[in-house]
């Protein structure tokens, strides 16, 4: 393979991986801390895309669109946690049924508000073109996705390692009962993590919008690989999500180049391989609570 094709595929894979990472990190933290597999995480992603598209349409500011989209995701995350999921902690079957139901409600609401058709989300002018790397063109927008993913990684990493809330989240992923026995109201932190997860999912949606366009089943298309990323990286492991996302993005990019029909299958094969060799995921946290 020529070096320039290799670099181009690698960068494409990384940019896709970064998008997966932004979504997967929130999903992973929510599952790791609270044992809640929030199947409606994809719907928050989609809502982020729709809200960001609408704000962008009104204001013309892409930055504002991303920020308000993420804020809407955070608000929706808090709403779902406080009014629905909170009542079902420790009851995984009901959580699955609830979050499946939430997908239907949230997706239908999108159709009611924005209609059932595909809507364009134009790329901001600044990010519309492309530039040359080793003679091959690479879109600015994909470079932006890489930068955004790196910024999210740095920000959440700083939150987790340098703040007390971050300490509580990391400790809670290991043994939340002990965290509460140290005098911390873990439930409050649950709500905060739902807000963070919702904001990250919606930020991913806002960033994916100009890349994929916006349509009512968007909530299914990207979050599914993100779920694979979470399993590969290890539930509850933020750094694991980053590794898993890059692995999934890059392998999807390379396999997609040679055998497009196998691009999704390779992710599932990767997940199966990781589950067989290391069931807790590449960087999975050994947890005290079941």
């Amino acid at each position: 393979m020529e070096a320039k094709v290799l670099v181009s595929l690698l960068l494409q894979g990384i940019s896709l991986g970064m998008l997966y990472f932004i979504i997967a990190s929130g999903l992973s933290l929510i599952f790791g801390l609270m044992d809640v597999l929030n199947l409606a995480h994809g719907s928050l992603f989609m809502w982020g895309a729709y809200v960001a598209m609408t704000v962008y349409g009104y204001t013309g500011s892409f930055l504002l669109a991303l920020v308000i989209g993420a804020a809407a995701g955070a608000a929706l995350g808090v709403f779902l946690e406080v009014f629905t999921i909170r009542r079902l902690y420790g009851n995984p079957i009901s959580q699955v049924l609830l979050t499946l139901g939430l997908i239907l409600v949230l997706d239908e609401m999108v159709k009611v508000i924005w209609g059932p058709t595909v809507l364009p989300f134009p790329k901001p002018a600044l990010l519309a073109g492309s530039f040359k790397i080793l003679g091959r063109s690479f879109p600015y927008y994909r470079a932006f996705l890489i930068a955004l993913g790196a910024a999210v990684w740095a920000a959440v990493h700083a939150l987790l390692t340098r703040t007390k809330v971050g300490l509580i989240i990391r400790a809670g992923v290991e043994d939340r009962e002990m965290v509460s026995a140290l005098g911390v109201d873990v439930r409050r932190v649950f709500t905060l993590v739902f807000a963070l997860g919702g904001a990250l999912a919606a930020l991913g949606g806002g960033a994916a919008g100009p890349f994929l366009m916006v349509y009512p089943t968007l909530g299914m298309d990207i979050p599914f690989p993100a779920l694979i990323v979470v399993v590969i990286g290890g539930l509850g492991s933020f750094t694991g999500s980053a590794f898993g996302a890059l692995l999934v993005g890059v392998s999807q990019s390379f396999v997609g180049y040679y055998q497009p029909e196998l691009a999704v299958a390779v992710n599932i094969a990767l997940m199966a391989a990781v589950l067989l060799i290391k069931p807790e995921g590449l960087l999975g946290v050994k947890r005290e609570h079941a």
Binding site: K164, L167, I168, E177, V179, S180, G183, V184, D185
Partner: protein, 232 residues
């Protein structure tokens, strides 16, 4: 002398199982009270119930006269009860320093310095992941976490479990030092350690309190020791 902790007719069910039937316990302020019994007698469950980690089905738990049963664990902890659980409850993925900071409510640097003076190893391994500590060091960290706050009562569950005799000796010395400052309820299988540290002893069997008295009385009661503790 008032009781720091008073447990009356405590019953705890987990699922269909009656784990505790009727536990009674009074831990006088400023003293060390040992909770003894064979495996499965209900000692750990009793401490967990005090912390609010398992709900009391019947009975009452009072801390300096105030009922605390039914309160969530974080409320109980904030009242001034420190807990070092049987499995030590260390967060292995966090550093020693992070484990301590997580436990600290407020920033009492003077108290932290005093605690680190008792446990010099913890300062030495401050930036190391807690998972890399030896069993004895992890136990010290678990107790240290309970000491960094101005707690009025410490619940310590089987601190000697899995530790080499020489480490147990060191731990006993540390606990002797601590008990001068704070009321302790100690669950322990190692009878000689409990006899060395405790002023009062309670024996549980099958979820019930079957003996209570001064530790010296228990130490002289061969029948109770043989029947309920397997000590000859």
């Amino acid at each position: 002398m008032s009781d720091a902790l008073r447990v009356e007719n405590l019953a705890v069910d987990i699922g269909e199982l009656h784990i505790l039937e009727s536990v009674n316990l009074a831990a006088p302020q400023g003293q060390c009270t040992a909770l003894l019994g064979r495996n499965g007698a209900g000692k750990t469950t009793a401490l967990r119930a005090v912390m609010g980690l398992v709900p009391a089905a019947e009975g009452s738990i009072s801390f300096f006269g105030d009922r605390i049963d039914g309160r969530p664990p974080h409320h109980v902890a904030k009242l001034g009860i420190g807990y070092a659980p049987e499995d030590r409850g260390i967060f292995g993925g966090l550093t020693v320093g992070e484990n301590i900071h997580l436990a600290q409510r407020g920033r009492d640097e003077g108290r932290l310095r005093r605690v680190l003076k008792i446990f010099p190893d913890l300062e030495r391994f401050w930036n190391q992941n807690a998972a890399t500590l030896s069993g004895g060091q992890q136990q010290m960290l678990s107790v240290a976490r309970a000491l960094v706050n101005p707690n009025r009562l410490l619940l310590i569950d089987e601190p000697s479990k899995g530790l080499a005799p020489i480490v147990v000796e060191r731990l006993a010395a540390v606990l002797s030092e601590i008990k001068r400052e704070v009321t302790i309820v100690l669950v322990e299988q190692n009878f000689s350690l409990a006899a060395h540290l405790a002023d009062y002893g309670y024996v549980l069997d099958d979820g019930r309190t079957v003996f209570h008295g001064k530790m010296t009385e228990l130490n002289n009661n061969d029948e109770v020791k043989r029947r309920y503790l397997g000590v000859t």
